[in-house]
Symmetry: C2
């Protein structure tokens, strides 16, 4: 049996929320225009700067990550203008869908799901589309576990185009380095329910001076997602609309936790979690979806479907054991499962998942040596 | 002195969150596509139907109330089409701003702030604007404490126009009766942080069959706020984007509380809180902003500024005593203060506010008889 409240949530978001953060969210409500609320916004904004690697104040939106993706589109490019979207999976595809919805001319650079985008490939694509006003790509592609080389991609855009560089960091910011100012990224967005260890409901967007100029001139109608309103209100130490206060309380605490651990250590932990997970999966003879070079420190995709076992059956077995992993999206449905290892996740959590996975594999009739996946991960833990 | 964590938040939202709801929000995260999450959406949706007075499933948006206001506009009327907006205060004005932002031809029916809209006046205004595709108005106008007669306004629209009837119930739904199906309201929206006793971050929209037809044909680009995406996903027992899960846990609990008390009793309680507040204010010789007929059961506005005392000074004194009331918005800034009495608010809370108000008035040099406001409210409590 397994206690239902001991469920090990190892999907790539929503991720588990630490008790400290849960507790912080219990504070009583306050007026959203009060001095107390202003202090909260400023505290969160200041600490978020380090996560984004920027000197500008990240803006706080009360929405899912998709709200921030849409904000990044509607604020920068207007109908009839051109945009390049790099699609390495379902969330690149979402950027493309938003771009199309708004009547923006879409130049779509599709890559095989599971592969990162090569900066040279983007460069040559940009040479074919010199009029693009913005280039959109994902940092971590949640649907495959690919980490795109955003630094190099940004450099490539800057060298070959005047387009804004816009990145979706929803499923990795806070777990991987980000120096958006230094790397030349114009807009970086993220959400609360991934590496930031919060429930869903908040999204963030940090915007460069260069992007603001384009945003100021963009006539696309927008209201709730109008970033200019967020900037104007942040100058007055407030938000344009009532923000999700309890999540902001939690955010301040989660950011304090990241500060205490120290961002370099946080990033190293996620690297270790990735390496442990991959070592375990390999030792069990399962097929990883991404190469070592392309793999994200936050989520690992594993191929099923082609062996004797089926990804969805395996997920059900894992669920019965008290471990939740995600399935595949779109054409990968039933073909892969995904292990989330970001945010409030440590080494023992990975050993737990791997040990449960071994049981689940045996139960679904896949012959694996019990303990072999765990052992491989332990070796990483001890020696890397 | 006053304990800072005993602060009596009596603004018209965010409102205090009951301990039960706080506790419910502490549940661990779950996958937003899991069966558990589906049960949660369905439970909330079923209970919300009673609050809205509809047989359709209210849609769950993760945004502030303004997100839902914008959704009501962009989904129904397209650029170049006409809309009527009844403006009885700052939130009617917000509807008008959204309508203008989207290039919709605005016919604005302005009323003096503090007065409700007369259904006959709306009827004659509609005769001048027969091409309007939708009529927007607020149920409770938060900025003044006016409750518009939405039932009669809806009837007026239905008799004189084919326009959709769209109402903003953000600061009253859950505290006042709403029978949107019976009254002929096509879209009703509300938010979490008012009478529903939750932190901000969730908004809701219930939509009539008649409105869906117009929405299906509306070409206005929209993505995060596209109600069709919410309807399609609700049919699959899910939401299009990751919802604010912790707030949904809280919502289920808050709706259970409303069910236990019984909606007729909830409405009667709010009526009593209004009558007590108004009796107390009158007994203290202060001027109410609205007539008894136009007054909302959820918020009461009181004129300052014209006497020896000043609304903002009074608010500061109240704050020092541990009571938070709201100031005026737009041209009413510094001229009124507003007492919120909705959601998790009972009779003793009103006596507390009034007793603190008496102290604050004395401290700001306004001669009032101590206890006289409290007494008038107690009389209501005992005899009405």
């Amino acid at each position: 049996m397994s206690f239902s409240d001991k469920f090990h949530l190892r999907i790539p978001g929503p991720t588990p929320v630490p008790a400290r953060v849960m507790q912080a969210m219990q504070k009583p409500m306050i007026g959203h225009r009060s001095g107390e609320a202003s202090s909260l916004y400023l505290e969160c904004s200041a600490k978020l700067k380090l996560v984004f690697g920027t000197k500008t104040d990240p803006l706080l939106l009360s929405s899912s990550g998709t709200g921030a993706l849409e904000a990044a589109v509607v604020n920068t490019v207007s109908p009839g203008e051109e945009a390049v979207v790099v699609v390495t999976g379902a969330f690149g595809d979402r950027f493309a869908k938003i771009v199309q919805k708004y009547g923006i001319t879409l130049h779509r650079l599709d890559l095989p799901w599971g592969k990162a985008c090569d900066p040279d490939l983007l460069a040559s694509f940009l040479r074919q589309h010199p009029a693009a006003k913005a280039v959109f790509f994902t940092y971590c592609e949640t649907s495959t576990g690919v980490l795109n080389p955003v630094r190099e991609l940004a450099q490539s855009v800057r060298e070959h185009s005047d387009a804004l560089v816009i990145a979706d960091g929803v499923s990795c910011l806070g777990a991987v380095p980000c120096k958006m100012d230094e790397w030349g990224i114009d807009i970086m967005v993220t959400g609360s329910q991934k590496a930031l260890m919060l429930p869903p409901g908040l999204a963030f967007a940090a915007v460069s001076q260069r992007a603001w100029k384009q945003i100021e001139q963009n006539p696309t109608p927008r209201f709730y997602l109008d970033l200019l309103a967020y900037r104007k209100n942040l100058e007055k130490e407030t938000t344009p609309y009532t923000p999700a206060l309890s999540l902001l309380y939690g955010l301040a605490e989660a950011l304090a936790m990241l500060e205490e651990e120290g961002l370099p250590r946080v990033f190293a932990r996620h690297e270790r979690l990735k390496t442990m997970t991959r070592a375990g999966i390999k030792a069990l003879g399962l097929e990883l979806m991404t190469s070592d070079a392309d793999a994200s420190p936050t989520v690992t995709s594993v191929y099923g479907g082609r062996e004797k076992w089926e990804a969805e059956t395996l997920r059900k077995e894992l669920r019965a054991l008290g471990v939740g992993v995600a399935g595949g999206q779109q054409h990968l449905k039933g073909k892969i499962f995904r292990i989330g290892h970001m945010g409030y996740c440590d080494e023992l959590d990975i050993l737990t998942v791997l040990s449960a996975l071994e049981i689940a594999l045996i139960k679904t009739g896949v012959p694996v040596e019990l303990g072999s996946g765990v052992k491989a991960a332990q070796e990483v833990m001890l020696h890397v």
